[in-house]
């Protein structure tokens, strides 16, 4: 009898009976390596306070990256996140007098979700390219944000409820970190166990086949972008609370940073593949890099050069590590 040799692909269950979830993605190694490197060479990196800093910044990025991951899974890309977060902050602060801190933040968050849903509808129903759609809503949201406040940042009156999302703690854990944990858990549940997550994978992997299999591609896509908007909304609320003001230019780099995090984590931008753990390690890698270049305290020019090279190295190493790991496994058999 011939022995069955299984193809050695990431799609297969762990060889030694490890469940999928427990197997760390290749980016985990890069992330760990970077962490050790930073601990060893970056002054004051390993202090408790700094680690908490990194995690807090990473958390915001992580929540939004979860949204970006949904869109990427669907084979799309979201450029409007930065602008819609800005719009959210402005809406929040403008609505504050009428709605109070909670209502204001909710209104801000809702506007992000609405933009996501519009993006999803245009992409899913009318088959417009996501780049064009989200670029368009980026311009519109950012114009609207500036117009609402006349281009000026406006301050929110200090209030405990308002600052809780960014500065609060629950059982000693900063709220943003908690939010990131919850976001990751929610996304993991959706992707690994939820029906909706499965449908996203299908549409991302092959939209034509999805339609022919009887799936409602428009609805799935719209819902996907709206859920992505919801993740972004949580991030926007934390950011708004963090800067305690409405900022028409709140976080212009947010889309790029979240796309980078997902890509570094190993999500193919062609869609249909990806796990939450990849997003988490991708985000941690980006956040550590950003933190390290500030701590190393090089001139800004070198910071940029270093950051660029580090992004490339992080991805490059991951490729080699994956190859090495395959080789090792083959030898070991």
């Amino acid at each position: 009898m011939r022995t069955k040799r299984l193809p050695d692909t990431p799609g297969l269950p762990g060889r030694r009976g490890l469940p999928r979830l427990a197997r760390p993605p290749a980016v985990a190694l890069v992330c760990l390596g970077l962490f050790l490197l930073c601990c060893a060479f970056v002054p004051r990196f390993a202090s408790f306070g700094n680690i908490e800093n990194v995690l807090r910044v990473a958390s915001i990025l992580c929540v939004v990256a979860c949204g970006q991951a949904v869109v990427i899974l669907l084979g799309g890309i979201e450029f409007s996140f930065g602008a819609s977060a800005a719009l959210a902050s402005v809406v929040t602060v403008t609505a504050l007098p009428a709605l109070g801190p909670v209502g204001g933040l909710a209104a801000g968050g809702a506007s992000v979700i609405a933009i996501g849903a519009v993006n999803g509808f245009l992409v899913g129903r009318l088959a417009l390219p996501p780049v064009i759609v989200t670029l368009g809503t980026l311009m519109m949201a950012s114009g609207a944000a500036a117009w609402l406040v006349g281009g000026l940042p406006i301050d929110a009156p200090p209030s405990a409820a308002f600052s809780w999302p960014a500065r609060g703690r629950v059982l000693g854990v900063p709220v943003p970190i908690l939010a990131a944990l919850l976001a990751c858990a929610a996304l993991h549940l959706m992707l690994a166990h939820g029906r909706i997550g499965r449908l996203w994978y299908h549409v991302g992997a092959n939209p034509v086949a999805a339609r022919l299999a009887g799936l409602d591609v428009t609805r799935i896509t719209t819902l996907g972008y709206a859920v992505a908007g919801a993740f972004c909304a949580v991030g926007a609320i934390i950011l708004t609370s963090r800067v305690a003001s409405g900022q028409p230019a709140l976080a212009p780099n947010l889309p790029f940073e979240t796309i980078a995090a997902c890509a570094i984590g190993g999500l193919p931008l062609s869609g249909g593949r990806g796990r939450v753990s990849q997003v988490v390690f991708g985000v941690l890698t980006v956040a550590m890099l950003n933190n390290a270049v500030v701590l190393i305290n090089l001139p800004v020019a070198w910071q940029l050069v270093l950051l660029g090279l580090a992004v490339l190295a992080a991805v490059g190493l991951q490729k080699d590590w994956a190859a090495l790991a395959r080789l090792a496994r083959r030898r070991g058999r």
């Binding site: 117009w147 281009g151 800067v243």
Partner: protein, 294 residues
């Protein structure tokens, strides 16, 4: 009808240019001038501003007020405008050309200098200082930082500058960087901020990590800055009479357009505002009211 005046500014996402525009706007109402206002959409968008000034030339406006993204970068196109018979008035960051009909400006170097004197005093003449210096390659941020650095070396040689960030004028980015600094430099005594928006980010970071004793200086006086001064979060802010500059620029522009008498140079002095004198400043010359929309 009155003359048509083109206004080209780098960025209407900054409180500074909004206040300038407010000054221009109010004066235009008084002088019965019509405005065509264009924003390049960012301090780094020189190419866009060049195109916009080209458009204004095309439209044959009677005069142009230019706050440059970069004084050198718009020099050539401004000289074209002048050659085409359109007088150009520079404001705050003027185009770097002798052909301007007038220049209305604050003294950015002095604004940095005032910050240095105030911050040095506030931290007792010694210790570590970090600089939130604003975007690289901008005349205003470069000059302001230079004024700060050179003055500090003179008035407080025992103060060391341990870090300098050249991020864009953005509160969230400043906040994150300041958080990192607080970890990296636990003995930080003071922070220079090129603008009050960035200072607001710095102050948030300091407060959140219980470092309220670190002194922060800034420039400009938006409502945020006023509040921070009142709350004692800012040691001081060096300001320019922004609205006054806008008004002056428009007056010069109208004068130039109608072949009236033009003052070649209007310099509004830099003024230091502290928690003590903030109440006595005439805000109407400094900052646009909160409900103003360009």
């Amino acid at each position: 009808a009155g003359p048509v005046i083109g206004v080209s500014v780098p960025n209407l996402g900054s409180s500074f240019w909004i206040s300038v525009l407010y000054g221009v706007d109010t004066a235009a109402k008084a002088d019965k001038a019509r405005l065509v206002t264009l924003s390049a959409g960012g301090d780094g968008n020189s190419s866009q501003q060049i195109s916009q000034i080209q458009d204004l030339i095309q439209r044959k406006v009677d005069a142009i007020i230019v706050g440059a993204t970069n004084g050198d970068a718009v020099k050539a196109i401004v000289e074209r405008a002048v050659a085409a018979g359109i007088p150009v008035i520079g404001i705050s960051s003027p185009p770097n050309t002798p052909t301007l009909a007038a220049v209305v400006s604050a003294d950015h170097y002095d604004m940095g200098k005032l910050q240095a004197e105030c911050l040095a005093k506030a931290i007792g003449g010694k210790g570590e200082v970090a600089m939130m210096a604003g975007p690289a390659g901008q005349a205003w941020s470069d000059l302001r930082a230079q004024g700060f650095r050179e003055t500090l070396a003179k008035v407080a040689p025992n103060v060391t500058i341990v870090a300098e960030s050249r991020l864009a004028d953005n509160r969230n980015a400043a906040l994150t960087t300041a958080e990192d600094w607080i970890q990296r430099f636990p003995d930080l005594a003071g922070v220079y901020s090129a603008t009050d928006d960035m200072a607001a980010g710095v102050v948030s970071a300091l407060k959140a990590s219980g470092k309220g004793t670190v002194k922060v200086s800034a420039s400009n006086l938006s409502p945020t800055a006023q509040q921070m001064l009142k709350d004692g979060d800012l040691a001081c802010t060096s300001i320019q009479q922004i609205v006054a500059q806008g008004k002056a620029a428009l007056d010069q522009a109208v004068a130039a357009a109608t072949k009236g008498k033009v003052d070649a140079k209007v310099v509004t002095p830099a003024v230091l505002v502290t928690p003590d004198n903030v109440g006595s400043i005439d805000l109407s010359l400094v900052v646009a009211p909160a409900d103003y929309r360009p």
